[in-house]
């Protein structure tokens, strides 16, 4: 059941200049009123960074901040418009010892909870048909989070997109590595081996999910940060690019080089 947006705050991101429309619902106002500081942060996903608007109990904008890495003690709400990127996931909350990030378009009626040590993932699903698989994939995400420590917020949201994209497939024993790469996406630079790309181009049409066009795409993002390389106009493009780059990484055509945060 969707909660009515009682206010929409329009502002410009100081980092990238993008115009953002932040929906503030009744639940957000109630959370702000109940918090010790009287404020709640609402996050808007901008790829490699996240714009956070602090809102008080009356829905007024009390300041903005650009986040790259989550801070301990931070509880963020992601602008529900992010859910237009997902198919199966209708809302989520990821929480660890010191922080939590959530995104719901309303008050969820039923949540699927995945737990792993200090980490918890609560998911509202549009269909529970694949709940068992979602639990397995969610476990992979939490395993990666456990290793990542305080995660990169853009990478965390990219991981939610990956979870959403894969959750109807059989669980993979390699999900943790997939999520680890997504969580670090802002710190990873794409490096292409041109001679390997040339060889792969010879047989790319015989590799599931690849094509010479995607090999060309990989060559075009040589030297880019992974999070910028996968950015696209729609969620399907983001998924396709991320999965293609992962596929090329498995074949040694692309390497992900970690650079300082």
């Amino acid at each position: 059941m969707a909660v009515r947006a009682v206010r929409v705050l329009k502002l410009r991101c100081p980092e990238c200049g993008r115009e953002a429309a932040i929906q503030v619902g009744e639940d957000t106002l109630a959370a702000a009123a109940a918090s010790p500081a009287g404020l709640v942060g609402v996050a808007d996903y901008h790829g490699d960074h996240v714009l956070v608007v602090y809102v008080d109990g009356e829905g007024r904008d009390r300041g903005v901040r650009v986040f790259r890495t989550l801070q301990r003690g931070e509880a963020l709400r992601v602008n529900p418009s992010f859910l237009s990127y997902t198919g199966l996931v209708a809302g989520f909350r990821v929480s660890s010892g010191g922080w939590s990030v959530e995104c719901f378009a309303g008050s969820p009626r039923a949540l699927l909870r995945v737990l792993r040590n200090e980490q918890a993932l609560d998911l509202e699903l549009r269909s529970f048909e694949y709940a068992a698989r979602v639990v397995e994939w969610g476990g992979g995400l939490l395993g990666a989070l456990e290793r990542a420590g305080l995660p990169d917020l853009g990478g965390l949201l990219l991981s939610i997109l990956l979870l959403d994209a894969n959750a109807t497939n059989p669980p993979s024993p390699f999900a943790t590595r997939l999520f680890e790469i997504a969580l670090k996406a802002r710190r990873l630079t794409v490096r292409v081996d041109p001679s390997a790309a040339e060889l792969l181009r010879e047989y790319a049409s015989r590799v599931p999910g690849l094509s010479p066009r995607l090999v060309d795409f990989a060559l075009s993002v040589n030297g880019w940060r992974l999070i910028d390389a996968v950015a696209g106009p729609d969620p399907l493009t983001i998924r396709e690019r991320l999965q293609a780059l992962m596929s090329l990484e498995r074949r040694g055509v692309v390497g992900f080089e970690e650079v300082g945060a």
Binding site: L199, Y203, P208, S247, R250, G252, V253
Partner: protein, 260 residues
């Protein structure tokens, strides 16, 4: 177009790319024993083997050469060549699938062989020392709609007790096998097969008095010398296998045997 001519031509490129190291001498010696290439080289295989020649040093110098990214790419490209695909097709033509039994691919590489038998066996099992190779296997198996598969990180030396039920088909075909002695591979696969189960090997077997054009590459990688056809046949018979059939290609032979 000749696969053999492609391998001979690429082996000459390999010889030119070698550093002056003690191990290079053996490689150069086996290249010098190769006859002149005859016929027009298969252009795809020539590219694949030239890539291997170009990348031989980083692969050899990596801690686990069979898991080096360049070797993973080579192995997949090689297994999709006409020469490998024909050997696989001829080998599988000798095998009668059993819908209730499993198929296992030891040192599976990217899973090209399991992909070829998906849908014919109740379960597919890939064993490889490289977890990333197993990701490639999974990519392929998911794409062909395989529902039941198991991916095991390991090799013939660490497989004991990890495959619970006997299998109906045991394969050792990918270039990852070039890093292993044939005898322990054959012996391990025999122990995993159910009675009446098939063994399928695809390997560059040495010919009497000659050198396989793939041998210089295997030596340069730090792999094990491939057995000759006679040595392999003796090995299989002494292990207990019966009904041996060998189909020789230009570079690769497909060997099928049955556990009585």
């Amino acid at each position: 177009m000749s696969a053999r001519a492609a391998a001979i031509e690429a082996a000459r490129a390999l010889a030119r790319a070698l550093p002056s190291a003690p191990w290079s001498e053996g490689v150069l010696r086996s290249v010098s024993m190769l006859p002149p290439a005859q016929g027009r080289a298969d252009p795809y295989l020539l590219k694949v083997l030239r890539f291997l020649a170009e990348k031989i040093l980083p692969i050899r110098e990596s801690e686990e050469p069979w898991a080096a990214p360049q070797f993973r790419l080579f192995a997949e490209a090689f297994m999709l060549s006409s020469e490998f695909q024909e050997a696989l097709r001829q080998g599988l033509a000798q095998v009668r699938p059993r819908a209730a039994s499993a198929a296992l691919d030891l040192h599976s590489g990217p899973g090209v062989c399991l992909e070829a038998v998906a849908g014919q066996w109740s379960k597919l099992i890939a064993v490889d020392p490289s977890p990333i190779n197993l990701e490639l296997v999974e990519e392929r198996l998911v794409a062909v709609g395989a529902r039941s598969y198991e991916l095991i990180v390991g090799d013939c030396g660490s497989l004991s007790g990890r495959v619970r039920d006997p299998v109906g088909l045991a394969i050792a075909a990918s270039p990852v096998n070039w890093f292993y002695d044939a005898r322990p591979v054959v012996s391990r696969l025999y122990s995993l097969l159910e009675p009446g189960g098939y063994l399928l090997l695809i390997a560059p077997l040495e010919r009497a008095g000659g050198v396989s054009p793939l041998s210089p590459f295997i030596a340069a990688l730090g792999g094990r010398r491939p057995p000759s056809r006679e040595e392999l046949e003796d090995m299989l018979l002494s292990e207990g296998f019966a009904r041996l059939r060998v189909r020789e290609g230009e570079l690769l032979s497909a060997v099928v045997a049955v556990k009585p």
